[in-house]
Symmetry: C3
Subunit: 162 residues, 3 copies
């Protein structure tokens, strides 16, 4: 059970091109995750791999739906990578709670839910029943570093330490 | 007391054209609500009635302030309908905590707060003092299904089950 | 310790032009902050000083990065002012948890993180280690009252009353 979640995660991360030995890089004056009272908050993640934002541009114009879904998966893997580091293991996640998906959208692009579904599916695939979550997806005019997608996450955990 | 909240809700829902015998339809790979540790999270709701998004377009251009307020009320009723189903009764809400209101806005439309007030008033009307809540309202470039408004909600509950 | 946080806050507020004897004005039908179960939620704050929104316009077009950072600091001070009132003292904050920063952005402005850093730095400066927080920053098309920036905040508190 324990190995299964973490190894499903490692497989997903490798397929997306992550080097899991690298520290997750954060683009500002804040903290990747904070755990408090059984809830872990993860900062908004753009689809960065190493030092490069892998998918930039406006979805529905420069960026296709498939590319945006790829970006959403990278964001979700980053969020899980941060939780794995902070909590010690993905098994410490008892339930995903809330995911917010921001899609840098062209004026007439209305498939934000379809973009977000890629991140949701990854959560389900890695965490199983604990990957069920509530979600809000919106189309925004511009994201940091011209990222195509940004995802933040809140999960429940039985890991008390911060 | 118990009857009052649920019946105020039913009245509001009927005035907005809801068929409460229908299941709330969700447009993606996620969960309408999750309860954890006394907090219930509700996914972002667009103004869908049955299978149709009732108010689409850009507020301040195709959609008037009054139409956007109507959309905001539908979103709020959907959030409450989901909570009623998940918690068994709206009486299980001890306090509304956080509402976020996303308004699909024309470039010069600045009355996002006035749109959000319609959703806030509905919460107050149905839940009374427990309907007090914090709020963030923003204008976004595009919402899923071209919805004019999207609302998500977090509430406190004394209902422990998920 | 106690004096230090509150006095650092007062100094920051005065440098930004706040009159701390005035009540914080809210632009809608909601509540500045709600405390529940050790968590305090603060409503989205625009850079209002008294009755005037101090920084309006689109960042990257009418509003410079430096002006947007000034706006972000005002938003953060307002959030802290509300918490000081609701909790009695900023010493009741045990840990900042989540800050969301919305930047009213021109189509090609990608420095939302740099804007948000100004608010993050203010939290760190006033709260010290308890000011560590997770963050999401996004660029939105329009904010209430044409505000350049909006910031909302969630913190942990040992103050049980609401």
């Amino acid at each position: 059970m324990s190995n299964s979640r973490n190894s499903l995660f490692e497989q997903a991360a490798q397929e997306l091109g992550f080097d899991l030995s690298e520290e997750i890089r954060i683009g500002g004056n804040y903290t990747p995750a904070i755990v408090h009272g059984g809830t872990a908050y993860v900062s908004g993640q753009v689809p960065r791999i190493g030092t490069v934002v892998a998918v930039t541009g406006r979805v529905g114009a420069d960026v296709s739906l498939a590319q945006a879904q790829h970006a959403a998966r990278i964001c979700a893997v980053r969020a899980l990578a941060i939780l794995r580091t902070v909590l010690g293991s993905l098994d410490a996640i008892t339930q995903a709670l809330r995911m917010t998906v921001y899609v840098q959208s062209a004026m007439d692009f209305t498939q934000q839910s379809e973009v977000a579904d890629a991140a949701s599916t990854l959560l389900h695939d890695v965490l199983g029943a604990a990957g069920r979550h509530t979600r809000t997806s919106v189309g925004v005019v511009q994201l940091p570093k011209n990222a195509a997608v940004e995802v933040d996450l809140v999960v429940a955990t039985d890991q008390p330490v911060r």
